[in-house]
């Protein structure tokens, strides 16, 4: 790990992890210090005319200290273990990485698409628009509550 202190006394750390699996251990450490994921940056790099390599930089925060841990994925094996079960703050970042860079995130608790997709439609019959729900729900719900409440104490004055 290389640590740097800038002219304003802010501390920044960065390291390269030789084994992509190690990111999980880093996440456990960050969680132990009550840190969080700031974001995750997948990026392609390499010389022109050669196949690009994919690396992922994980940016963490522990009490104001910013740490960047980078892993390099093997060519053709764009797969990482999810750190969301350890650090909830990785959730959207991992889902975005999955969609934008086709990285398979294994073990993500909610791997559904984050951004727009054909699977989203507004034609389900079960749906009630908010405006309708807000204007009509009160009276219906109130009545349902009255009907569902125990009979004692109700209807004495009927």
């Amino acid at each position: 790990m290389i640590w740097e202190e800038d002219t304003k006394k802010a501390i920044w750390g960065h390291c390269f992890l030789p084994d992509p699996e190690m990111i999980h251990q880093v996440a456990l450490l960050v969680a132990a210090f009550r840190g969080r994921v700031i974001t995750i940056t997948p990026y392609l790099h390499g010389e022109e005319d050669t196949p690009k390599k994919l690396s992922i930089a994980y940016h963490f925060d522990i009490r104001g200290v910013t740490i960047t841990s980078t892993i390099a994925l093997q060519e053709g094996l764009h797969k990482v273990k999810s750190i969301t079960p350890v650090l909830k703050s990785a959730d959207w970042n991992e889902r975005e990485m999955q969609e934008m860079y086709h990285v398979t995130v294994e073990g993500h608790p909610n791997p559904q698409r984050l951004f727009l997709d054909d699977s989203i439609n507004l034609t389900e019959d079960t749906m009630v628009p908010l405006s309708v729900a807000m204007s009509g729900a009160t009276s219906t719900t109130l009545w349902e509550k009255v009907m569902a409440s125990p009979k004692e104490g109700r209807g004495k004055n009927e």
């Binding site: 994921v37 990026y43 703050s89 727009l116 749906m127």
Partner: protein
């Protein structure tokens, strides 16, 4: 009791920008929320990798309108780190001035929207009228009411003359009294309190777990502000309070934003007073070598991070930014369950969402 699904969006009157919510509702009570983004995804990160590092200053300013200044500002800070460029002290103060002016306008906008959502339209119009003071300041000093174009690599593209400094502080003075009245109203008005207190509660432990930032975090008593934790520009020279609230509800988040405006006014006044004479930007076009850097700033909605990786060409290899709202969306999973249908707009408004930022 009836269970049904309520869709909100992608286009809806309670949303300033398009996003899609699918709410599981039982009677009038929300049981769960599912969020789908992507309706204004413009592929801006990809676009930055098709342009050169200098063109990207203009492009990043257009990620968002309300926190537009923070994007080129943080992007420039990352480049300056890579190239080890020392920013002139006067430019650091001028960067703070631009940033805090934008914060005032942004926070006032959210306070106005909140009152509009709860149906207090006379206060909404009053707040927006007050906001015009700061909009006029932006137009006068920068020539534009939204995008200031204040930043360049190694400094700023504008300066403040003594006369302009006086104009700025005079206008800030005009803000103080109405702002104090608005804060008092938010703290005491029965309508505001009824619609915001105890609504959309995000407990402190959940705020930490979900990694929320900005006024959403500080409203839940998380004492994190990049300006304090990772000082940048001239913030280390300036004295200001870190505003927090403890209740974690809509009311707390609104109060944090309003009280931060008071701090922003003080920060600008100090900056104008303490700003030394000197250059504001390098007199050459900086060349950025190969390297990578991370820079952070406190945008009106919270922590903004830029990761920039350059190679030997002037086209960046990768630019990635993480906007504050990106982290705050998921916290709606905690804020919404248990709330009433009528509270949904005010809870969504309370995270001050920026969808253009989220999707880029």
């Amino acid at each position: 009791m009836s269970s049904y699904t309520v869709p909100i969006g992608p286009i809806h009157v309670v949303l300033e920008e398009p996003i899609y919510f699918k709410l599981a509702v039982e009677g009038e009570t929300v049981k769960g929320v599912d969020i789908t983004a992507g309706h204004v995804h413009r592929g801006m990160e990809f676009l930055t990798m098709q342009r050169n590092i200098y063109q990207n200053i203009t492009l990043t300013e257009r990620v968002c309108s309300l926190c537009s200044n923070n994007h080129p500002f943080t992007y420039c800070m990352a480049l300056e780190k890579i190239a080890r460029i020392e920013v002139p002290v006067r430019a650091e103060f001028l960067r703070v001035v631009a940033d805090e002016i934008k914060r005032i306008a942004s926070n006032l906008f959210n306070a106005g929207m909140l009152t509009h959502i709860i149906g207090f339209d006379s206060l909404f119009m009053h707040i927006m009228q007050i906001r015009e003071i700061i909009q006029d300041v932006k137009e006068t000093l920068y020539g534009n009411r939204m995008d200031l174009a204040a930043n360049c690599i190694g400094g700023v593209r504008y300066d403040l003359t003594a006369e302009q400094g006086k104009y700025l502080t005079t206008n800030l003075q005009k803000l103080k009294k109405p702002l104090a009245e608005i804060i008092k109203l938010f703290m005491t008005n029965k309508l505001i309190r009824l619609r915001t207190e105890g609504v959309g509660v995000l407990p402190r432990d959940k705020a930490i777990e979900y990694g929320v930032v900005g006024p959403v975090a500080r409203g839940s008593n998380v004492t994190y502000d990049v300006r304090k934790e990772n000082p940048y520009a001239a913030y280390n020279y300036l004295d200001f309070d870190l505003i927090t609230e403890t209740s974690g509800d809509v009311h707390a988040r609104a109060l944090v934003r309003l009280k931060e405006i008071v701090q922003s006014i003080s920060i600008i006044e100090q900056a104008v007073k303490l700003m030394p004479e000197g250059p504001t930007c390098p007199d050459y076009l900086p060349v950025i070598p190969a390297g990578e850097a991370v820079a952070k700033s406190e945008a009106p909605r919270g922590e903004l991070l830029y990761f920039v990786k350059t190679n030997t060409s002037d086209i960046p290899e990768r630019i990635k930014w993480r906007v504050p709202t990106f982290m705050n969306w998921e916290a709606l999973q905690v804020m919404m369950p248990g709330c009433k249908l009528a509270d949904i707009p005010v809870i969504v408004g309370s995270i001050d969402p920026c969808i253009s930022c989220t999707e880029r």
